[in-house]
Symmetry: C2
Subunit: 240 residues, 2 copies
Amino acid sequence: MPNPTAAMLVIGDEILSGRTRDANMYFLAGELTKHGVDLAEVRIVSDDAAAIVSAVRALSESFDHVFTSGGIGPTHDDITADCIAQAFDTQIDVRDDARALLAEHYKKSGSELNEARLRMARIPDGATLIDNPVSVAPGFTLGNVHVMAGVPLVFQAMVASVLPTITGGQPMLSQTLRVLRGEGDIAPTLSALAEKYDDLSIGCYPFQKDGAFGANIVIRGTIGTRIDAAMTQLAKELEL
Amino acid sequence: MPNPTAAMLVIGDEILSGRTRDANMYFLAGELTKHGVDLAEVRIVSDDAAAIVSAVRALSESFDHVFTSGGIGPTHDDITADCIAQAFDTQIDVRDDARALLAEHYKKSGSELNEARLRMARIPDGATLIDNPVSVAPGFTLGNVHVMAGVPLVFQAMVASVLPTITGGQPMLSQTLRVLRGEGDIAPTLSALAEKYDDLSIGCYPFQKDGAFGANIVIRGTIGTRIDAAMTQLAKELEL
């Protein structure tokens, strides 16, 4: 059985403007690979309702799971929860269980649960809350869409809360061979290898650094012995 | 007149698998911002022809410019050029001008211009070559799509070759104010500010680090004096 597929939707003007370098995509990609879920597509859109709704619909229809990052805080530019509700044609309002979580948290910390903070208790009808052990304000799962915060520490904690609820497949394994040769020289060997081992994914990633050039050859698959066999043959053919 | 819009398409299994952390998106986002082009969406897809063709068509129709990264090398998994041709329903073959560039380069370096390397001279009909001062094998522009290599050094050189050919708008300027307060406390102030300065984009990006928490408030726009005015008002209202 093939592994379940996933897409990620990053909501963030700050990444598109080049101000911030994304960290959540890199983290999620690694976690999904370990969990046996194939991350097939990532989209980054700005804090624009039409763009978010359209991306959520397209990704939710095409993949088994969608993970979103960003836009669920208390400020005016946090519109993700409302957009998810709109994408699923469902209602959204402050929900009692989410409000109770926030009320207890702000009571302890001595801050006021003001109107802005109450926005973080807006949860679409039919959604399940995602636990946030870092800063309490929950994420949520609606249908196959998992809605999480953009702050890396909180995002990571929410991923840890969500992943156990998702049936994974076989973890993707990989081995890398670094060779100091031009891609053009090893391409014919790789091409033949890819044909023979068609259950594996064989990628070639060239690099140039400090005057040296070469390539990392990465062989990926779910069966370790097959990867071993392909790597052994590759090393032999490249006379390493 | 609004700034031209752009999308980026990253082609790369190695990013989706979590093996590599993207560097090109962050670089391009910064360059486009300086050039007055608004990066509105980024997509990352795997080395899969159907996914690439479909993304190229969708982005090319929706935005003024599309920049792609990756998949134009000599190996079997380098299918971007063929996918671009398919997306535009045009022919692709080894082109004489691109072949001549490669022939001269490999003659100098003493390497053979073999069949694999000749793949890098495959250019769709009607495309314009993009200069590659790093490793010679060219990128190309077809319609509004600029096709570039994934190796960061080469990608950056190609961006430098392409950007002067693109009419930019007004560079997006920004100022950041770092405050050690909860987002929920400053949200009402920001919301009112965003309504008053509706020609500016006002974003709030919370952080938690080493036990401290706060937010970076970023005000973006094309008119420096407007950003100054909004920042001055913000600082006053937050009593900084």
